[in-house]
Structure formats: structure tokens, C-alpha cells
Amino acid sequence: MVKLFILSVFYKGATEARLLKATADLGSFSFFQRGTVNEFMTFASKTIVERTQPALRQSVKQDAYMCHVYVRADNLAGVLIADHEYPHRVAHTLITKILDDFSAKVSADQWVNGSESTIAFDALPAFLAKYQNPKEADPLTKMQTDLDETKIILKNTIETVLERGEKLEDMVAKSEQLSLASKTFYTTAKKTNSCCSFA
């Protein structure tokens, strides 16, 4: 069951990472746990950004979760915490996409000193919700699944067509029998007896 939990944008400063924007979908946790989980995940995200070099992508396993992080060369970073089954490629595609979006909407000078309240970027929750289902959200995965389905249908159709006419097994049996039954029409052996006959 694929699941995304937290999607956040950080700025990797010289000493520490600043959280610029975040969104979370913690509906799978019980009400009382949510606060703790949120804190924990934010902390994990922050740490991982600090530990990741610029222009690098990583996917780190953390207990039951997978943290996908991408730190751009300009020190803008995105973190996505998901479960183990979520396809890595889709995760990183999502991160790249929101970072592109973010850098387009929010000017670079706000990154260094911004915080959650000062940055105006509302697209995150929508993205998180959309990408809960990787197959639908990611056009590439969607195409791949469609393609796989089509291939199976195609193969079945081809098989049906090939089955038409005489059954292959029958033909194989018949032709095997034919080739085994071969016996030369002209046997030279009998000619050797001719010396014994009286002309």
C-alpha cells in the first residue's frame, strides 16, 4: 500500500537547514500520535538535508519509512517521506517538480531567511494528495501500466490467432510420424543376390 506522509521544502544553509514549507498527510496514524510523528518526521527531514551534499539525490531507509531527498545545486532542497513501496522514481520526480515550482513562484532572496509563515507557496498539499496514487499522478507510470496491460491483451489475441486452423500438436505428431516412417524406395541389397540366380 503506497503512502506518502510528509512533503517539505528546505533551504540548506551553511550551518543548518531552514524549513521553508511543509505539508503532511498523517491520516493513517491515530489522532494522538500525529503530533509526535509530525515533529519526528520534520526533524528527520531537517537532519537528512543537512547531511546531504548539494546536487545530490538520496533515498534513505528509516525504520518503516523511506526518506527521499534532493538537494539542488542552489541549496534548495526537497524531502519526501513515504513508505517502502512507493516507487523511488516517482518520488524524486515529485520532489524535482515541486522544487521547480517553488523556485518559480518564490524568489531566491526569500529562501535564506524565510520560514513557514513568510513563504507564500500553497501548492504542496495538492501535490501530496495527488501523488498518493503514483500510478495516476505520474504520467510515466500510467503509461507503463497501460502498456503492460495492452501487451498482455495483444499477446492473448496473437495466441488466439495462432491457434486457428489445425492444432500445432496434431501437426507435430503427424510430421514426426511421417519422417520416422521413411524407407528408401530402392533397396540395393537385393541386387547382391542376383549372382545366385540362374540366368
Partner: protein, 612 residues
Amino acid sequence: MFPHLKSARVNLQLLQEAACRQLVQQLTLIEGSKVIVLDDAMIGPLGLITKPKLFSDRGIRLLPLKPEIRVPKEIRNIIYILRPQVSLMETLVTQVKANMLNGRQFHLYFVPRLSCLCIKQLENKDVLTAFGRIDELPWNFFPLEYDVVSMEMPHSYREVTIEGDFSCLFQAATGLVQLQRLYGRIPKIYGKGVQAQLVWEKAKQLAIDEKTLYNADRGAIDQLILLDRGIDLMSTLATQLTYEGLIDEFYGIRQNQLSLPGEHFSSYNAADMANDYGTGVQERLLATSDRKLIMLHSGEHLYSELRNRNFNEVRNVLARKVREIQLHMSVSREDQSVQEIKVLVERLPQLMKLKEATSVHTTIAELIDRQIKVDSFGEDLVAEQDYMNCEDIDRPSAYIDDLIARRTDLRTVLRLICMQCAAGSGFKERVLTHYKRELVHVYGLEVLLTLRHLEKAGLIRLQTESRAYAVLRKTLRLTLEGNPEINPTDISYVHSFYAPLTARLVEHSLRPLGWQTLKSQITNLPGPTFEDFQVQLIGIGGRHAAAAGSKGDGYMLHSRRVVLVFIVGGITFAEIAALRFLAAQEDNNVEFLIASTKIINKHTFLDSLMSS
């Protein structure tokens, strides 16, 4: 219309199209609604010239010639296309009288030539006035394959030797002139045999009027070899062992079509079966629902691979093909990329066609195998082979005596007797008397009449001094030990160890010296040996024209020669296979165009001679 007729030098589609044009020309001369009635002998040949589409496009129905046929009232013209046989006139008269209507016209076309006798018969029966057009369709040669033409005259050998009717030889000569008109003059002619010489003399005579022939440039055909069936009767009587030969002997191939009971074949969808050629004239007129009609010509790739091979080789080829198909089909089950699937889908129609063809031929091969396994087949074959090896031929054969005593089918007995006769180049008198006595005892006095026919035809005779067959067997290597049936190196594979004499003669003519080396032995065969030239007439240009002509002929040596081999009296599929084998050998540098009065086999040949 018939793509399988196209080939390199001699394009037989021209022949088919010319014939088709003649028919259309005649049809357009007749106004109003029409119906065409064909006699049985013409149904097949017509299918070789046209497709039913030609008629359906013009709203013309095709009907077989039967006395009880009634033509619907709206049809204003009834066209008959018949062979010029007086016996057909009876049925014709009955039909005309029954279908006589005011305003209705009858038309009659003889193939290939008008017959005054037939017209006189119509006059005698007072129906001549009902006929509008009476004309001929000069179709002498029908194209069967890109390298085979046939006159479709099954009884020509009988007519000449037994009935003394030489008209088919005249037709053969006319046909030769027609071919030269289409494909150019033939510069060099070799021939052997009485009938062959008669045909050639007549053809020369007819061509005298054709000035265009002599002035034309070198044509597509370089040489003509004319052979009389009578010089090699052994090859017609021997059991053929090629795939096509066996099919013909057991089931009969009519103008490239084979009809078999439908139950042997897996049920199929009519839509699946639609081959590129659609249905033919024969199918429209003769098909019944419980029989399957199979097209057998080079248009089907698998058939052209199988037809000329020895049957034992065919077994292996079929097994290999089935395995190939299995491989292709199993490939589809693995995991594949879209590209691979695309390639597979593109190949699919071809694969399906191959599967269908392989299925049909495996079934046919199975049927033949069953026939071969019958004891009598094997025993007859052993007896045949003994005769062909000249074993024990100067005494009455115990095997034949046994067959007679058992009252076996007369045709089988007579075939073996004729083979023994051919092997010994005649019987010793006491042997012949012995056989005659035994035959009469068992089959009755009527058999003497049949024997008389065979004697007239030259199949049964007394020995003279020359033992032509025995001598030629050694000098021409007619029987050859050790030639494998699979991947053979010599034409003798067509009868597993015996090479047809006619094919050996052709093989020798391809050598640089031609028949020179055989001069002494060849004279042993009945009939004259002749050579002839048709040179280009020197026009006013004088020397230059002659020089140009000879230079043109000189080119023959470098490119492939085209040799027209015409066996007057019939040819077997085995002989055709042997000739094709020769053509396939690079060293020979030759292409054959094979012609005959009819493609025969041991059964049809004997039946024609035995019937009264």
C-alpha cells in the same frame, strides 16, 4: 491475374493474356445477355486462361455441358466453348433443341480449331440455322506454370498411334508457330522420333507464311528439343516417386488443382482460406461441399519447395517446417518488448499462411504415405525395379503370372507387362504368347482387343536385333546406384534410381558436343534423329545483317540458354522434376520451358490406350 506465371526470359503471362484477349474480343462481338456452356474438357483449361471475375463482371454465368440444362428465359445468347469432337455434338443438339426460343441465338466456339465435321453434323441435325457465330479460339498451349505449358490433349498419343488421326500433331505445329509469334523465332532445333519430325515439318511449313518470324531478331527461346513419346515408354509406365508425381498417380491433379475428401482436413473458416487468387473457374463449376479443392502451383511457396523432391525427402522437409513454425509460435509466449511484438504481428499473416500450407501438405503426405504402405504398392515397385534393371526379362515373370492368376486389375497387369517389354526392347515370341494365353484365360477374349491397341501403340512388340533399352541403360546411365533420395546429385532420384530417358537425352544435349557422342546409340531408338536451323533471313542489308545475326547468336554462350523441351504425346511430373533439377544446376547454365500435349501418369496413359 496469374502471378505464378512470371519468370525471367519467357514470360508466360503474355500467353495467358493473349488468349484471354481473344476470348474477350469474341464476347464483345455478341450483344445482349449471355451464358457460357463448357464441355468437361474445357472447364479446367478455361481456368488457366481467366478468372471467374471476368465473367461475373460482365454478368455471364458459366454452365457445364449437360443435356438437361435449361437456360432462363432472359438470356438472349448461349455461347458454347467446346473441343471439336463429334461425340459432343449429340449433347449439343439436344440442348439446342430444348432451349430454342424466339430471339435467342446460339454461338459456338471450337478450341483450338473449327471442325467441318462437327459443323456438318449440326447441319444434318437441322440445328445449324440456330447458330449465329461459329468460330474458333486458337488456344493451343495453356500455361500451367512459369515453365510449363500444356496443350491439354490427353489422347494425342492414342490418336496418332492407334487411330491414325494426326490432327493433334497439326495443332502442336500451329502451337509452335504461335509461340514463336509471341516469343520470337527459335534458331536451333533438335528432335527425335517420328511424331516429333512430323510436328517440326508441319511447323516449318506453316512458318513459311510468317515473314515476320524470319526477319525478327533473336527471340527469347534459344533452342527447341522435340521428342516423340514413343522413344521412351518406360518412363511413362514407371511409378513416379516425386511428391507431385505421387499425388497425381493416386489422386489426379487437374490443371493445377487437387480435389480431396474434406474429412481429412481440419475444419476451417471459409474466410481464412481465401487465398490471394480467390476461387477459380473449376471451383465454381465442379466444387461440392464435401470435397476440398487445393491449388497446387508455384504461387504457394511451400508447394514449390516440396513438389519436385523425392517423397522421402518431403517427409523430412515437412517435419522441419513444422518445427520451424513451432519455434516461431513459442517465441510469442515469452516476455517481449513492444518492438518485438510489433515484428511478430507483422510476420503473423505470413506465419499463418505457412501454418495452413504446412497443415494441408502434412495431411496430403499422410494420405500418400498410407497408400504407399499398402503391400501391393511395394511389391509392384520391386517388380518394376527388376525390369528397369533388366533382370530376368527374357522369361515370363512369375510375379506377373501371379497377378494374373489372382485376377488383379487388368491395368496393373498390363502396365508391368509393358514395362518388361520395354526393358527387353520387345518380347521373345514364346513369352508374348504365354502372356496372351494367360490373359485370355483369366480376363476373357476381349483382352485381345486391348492388347491389339497396345501393340499398335508400340507398348507390346516382338524383339528385333537391337536391344535399345539395355544398351542405353549403360551408355546413358539410366539406372544409377547410390544416388541418395535426399539431397540428390543426379536426376535419377525421381524414380529413386532410374533417370527418365527423355531427361537424359536433354541432359546430353546441353553438353558442348550435344548428341554427337550419342549418334550411334540414339539410332537404336525408333524414329529419325534430326537437327534444324531457322536462320535470320538476310535482307537487303546483306552481309551486315548476317554478321549481326551471328553475333547475336554468339551471346547465347554467356547468358543462360532457354531451351523449349516439347514431348509430343505426354510428359510425366517426374520428367518435369528431372528437367527442373537440371535447370537448377548452375553448371548447366540453362532455363527450360517445358511443353507437352498433356501431363500424364502411368494410369491416365494406359487408360487412354486401353479404352475402345
